[in-house]
């Protein structure tokens, strides 16, 4: 589905990613862990197409297409979804209006017919139950006045509506209490199919109790320094990242 090769990226002249390799296939869940400043969120931003980052080397193929050549919105239309670490507030724009615009633009790109208002609303009702999102929130302005947990659930709700091929969850667990975490994780699990894939970026192992990854990668100093199965996450939880730092330094 996505193949990242030897990715080097920098911001303001400072190199953050230093030769990252990663391949994700359909039906897989990959977790990316690592200490603060390792480059986890940079990776998410680059995949989604934030312009501040400069790609100095390497390539990203998404469903056979050169991802780096695509604009942010075309990446989204191709089926790449980023659940933001800090979802953005847009005052005055209702969640519904926002999603409908988004969904219809994606459909138009794919040459599909737009949804009727009735079908759209039906879909909203269906999908909002996945993350137990109060339907009242759908009429409120995008993320404005939402609690931290509501914002994260709203991200997963949007993911359910847009049905992406590849979802990247950027620290979706940060700031969530255990109940909210379970709701969000269950939502993600329900959306999982053999055709789509998911990259879960997290700092904590606990999320992986709920979203069970096929692979766990440790990102350190701009590179993936260790790859394993879900047991690796447990080791990290126990030993911390220092252990990785030491072995990486050797």
């Amino acid at each position: 589905m996505i193949k990242i090769e030897n990715l080097h990226a920098s911001i303001d002249g400072k190199e953050i990613l230093k030769g990252l390799n990663l391949e994700v296939n359909a039906g897989e869940v990959h977790a990316i862990m690592g200490p603060n400043g390792a480059g986890k969120s940079t990776l998410a931003s680059i995949l989604a197409g934030r312009e501040e980052y400069e790609i100095t080397e390497g390539s990203i193929l998404f469903e056979g297409k050169d991802l780096l050549e695509l604009s942010t919105e075309d990446r989204a239309r191709e089926g790449l979804f980023l659940a933001f670490q800090y979802p953005v507030e847009i005052p005055g724009v209702s969640n519904i209006n926002f999603l409908r615009t988004s969904l219809n633009e994606i459909k138009e790109y794919r040459g599909e017919n737009p949804l009727s208002a009735k079908d759209f609303m039906k879909m909203v009702r269906e999908k909002s139950t996945i993350v137990e999102l109060d339907s009242k929130l759908a009429n409120r302005s995008v993320n404005v006045g939402f609690s931290g947990g509501e914002k994260k659930r709203n991200e997963i709700f949007q993911m359910a509506m847009l049905d992406p091929k590849l979802a990247i969850l950027d620290e979706t667990d940060s700031g969530l209490d255990i109940d909210a975490l379970r709701i969000v994780a269950n939502g993600v699990n329900k959306l999982k199919t053999p055709q789509n894939a998911c990259i879960v970026i997290t700092h904590y192992q606990r999320l992986l109790d709920y979203i069970v990854p096929d692979f766990v990668h440790v990102l350190f100093d701009g590179k993936i320094v260790k790859t394993g199965t879900k047991e690796l996450a447990l080791i990290l939880e126990e030993k911390g990242y220092d252990w990785i730092k030491e072995s990486a330094a050797v």
Binding site: A48, G49, R50, S71, T72, E73, R75, A76, R77, F81, L82, F84, P87, V88, E89, I90, P91, G92, V93, S94, I96, N97, F98, L99, R100, T101, S102, L103, N104, E105, I106, Y109, P114, A117, S141, V142, Q158, L162
Partner: protein
């Protein structure tokens, strides 16, 4: 309202140039160019006016001659030569239309192009339209229906003839002929406008609407509107403007006076898209308008405006809160693009006790335009327990434009509470990125964000107007991302 922004918007966005730039070819009856006492006498006699009306005009003219054009606004333009303007141009017609069918087909077509065909309006929306074309009211609908309720809604000229007592009593009481340069000029030379009277305790069942439009080349538009809401009555009044494309600048100096008597409420909404000039800043309308309302005890006046047009705008719809517990509101969206200049805002004059005012102003500047908010909040000595809240936000869409905020806050009563907040910022990069990550194009994302930013104001407009306003916003800002 939320259902707009979809495909319709995309279609509208294709219309790059000014949508309403066409000239109707109707023989017009024009007065000679220039301004003098004779011209004023001519206008007055053309309109068969009574003596008191003529002397009102002549007094105003005397005052005006001694005045100089104001220069304090943050706008720069070549001052019009007031001797180069035609002060009277009426579509040539010998008699009033008996019915809608008698109206000149070409004029009907004009209205259709404007998207406000009377038939349509009459049939579908229940809006009564008093259509002003080059200063003379040519068709008035729903008059009869309103008449049953005792509501008077007619052209200003008709009111002078038919309701002279009301006109005499209220005309010039809110905006005296000495008020300012343009208001004095208007008082001297106004050709027509709208008049509205809502009797005691009557709630006007439909939205009253007037469309103004400048037509013949080189004619100034000087209309005058007087709305009187008698005790305990309510009216919602809509004013829309479009002007055809012309190269030389055209002057538009209107006067609008609102009178809300005890417990009355007037809601006055304007969507203004006078021709803004072309992309090089050539041509366009000068919109120098004086609008003011007075509130008696427990009365309320609410101004809502969406301004996307005109080359130069100078406009401050204001409220004099004379009666205790009266309320004034001002909701404004002002968009400027290319070389447009706008200096607009409001004045809230708190005279009565427990008076309350709210100001929400949203400025959007794009291209090389200059957009200024100028507002006065004045709390007089006896205005105990008065409140004002002002929020003035500016959104910048290009690095060539300007956004300015000039609030004047004057307080002479310690129990008053005044809060003013203003922000100026660029359209949010994070917001744009978020939208785009959800597959929304940049242009659409901007439209979405801008409409959201203006929502508090757009929400104040009646439904049909709100949709039109959203379209106008999108059209005005098209291609402005820089």
């Amino acid at each position: 309202m939320a259902n707009y922004t979809e495909n319709e918007l995309a279609k509208d966005l294709e219309n790059q140039e000014y949508k309403f730039g066409f000239v109707t070819d109707i023989e017009t009856d024009k007065a000679p160019v220039g301004l003098s006492e004779d011209i004023i006498r001519l206008i007055s006699s053309k309109k068969n006016e009574p003596e008191w009306m003529l002397s009102f005009r002549l007094n105003a003219f005397e005052v005006w001659k001694k005045m100089t054009e104001p220069e304090w606004a943050h706008v720069h333009y070549k001052k019009p030569d007031f001797q180069e303007i035609t002060y009277y141009a009426a579509p040539k017609q010998t008699k009033k239309y008996e019915s809608w069918d008698d109206v000149d087909p070409e004029m009907k077509e004009t209205m259709t192009k404007l998207g406000i065909s009377l038939e349509e309006q009459q049939r579908l929306s229940g809006v009564a339209v008093d259509f002003v074309m080059d200063s003379v009211s040519v068709a008035t609908s729903f008059k009869e229906k309103l008449k049953e309720l005792g509501i008077i809604f007619c052209s200003f000229s008709d009111a002078v003839q038919e309701y002279p007592e009301l006109v005499k009593k209220y005309m010039g009481t809110v905006i005296p002929t000495t008020d300012n340069f343009y208001a004095s000029l208007n008082s001297a030379v106004f050709t027509d406008g709208s008049f509205c009277y809502i009797p005691k305790g009557i709630r006007c069942p439909m939205e009253l609407s007037t469309y103004f439009r400048i037509n013949a080349g080189g004619t100034g538009q000087f209309e005058r509107t007087l709305v009187i809401a008698d005790e305990g009555s309510y009216v919602s009044y809509l004013e829309g403007c479009t002007a055809p494309q012309r190269d030389e600048n055209q002057l538009h100096a209107a006067v609008v006076e609102l009178i809300a008597l005890e417990n009355a409420e007037i809601k006055y909404s304007t969507v203004q898209n006078w021709y803004p000039g072309n992309k090089q800043g050539k041509g366009g309308v000068f919109n120098f308008v004086t609008k003011r309302g007075i509130c008696e005890r427990r009365a309320k006046i609410s101004w809502t405006q969406v301004e996307t047009g005109s080359a130069v705008t100078w406009k401050y719809p204001s409220c004099i809160l004379k009666g205790d517990y009266s309320v004034g509101e001002f909701y404004s969206v002002a968009v400027t693009n290319n070389y447009q200049q706008a200096d607009t805002g409001t004045k809230m004059i708190h005279l009565g006790k427990h008076t309350k005012s709210t100001i929400i102003s949203k400025g959007i500047s794009a291209g090389k335009s200059q957009n200024s908010y100028r507002g006065l909040v004045q709390i007089h000595k006896n205005a105990q327990q008065s409140r004002n809240f002002s929020q003035c936000d500016s959104l910048l869409m290009s690095d060539q434009c300007g956004a300015h905020t000039f609030p004047y806050i004057e307080c002479k009563n310690p129990s008053a509470k005044i809060e003013h907040e203003a922000t100026t910022s660029k359209i949010g990069e994070d917001q744009l990125f978020y939208c785009m990550q959800r597959g929304i194009s940049e242009e659409k994302a901007i439209s979405l964000i801008v409409n959201g930013y203006c929502k508090e104001v757009l929400n104040q407009l009646p439904m049909e107007f709100a949709v039109e306003a959203q379209k106008l916003l999108a059209i005005s800002l098209e291609g402005s991302v820089g």
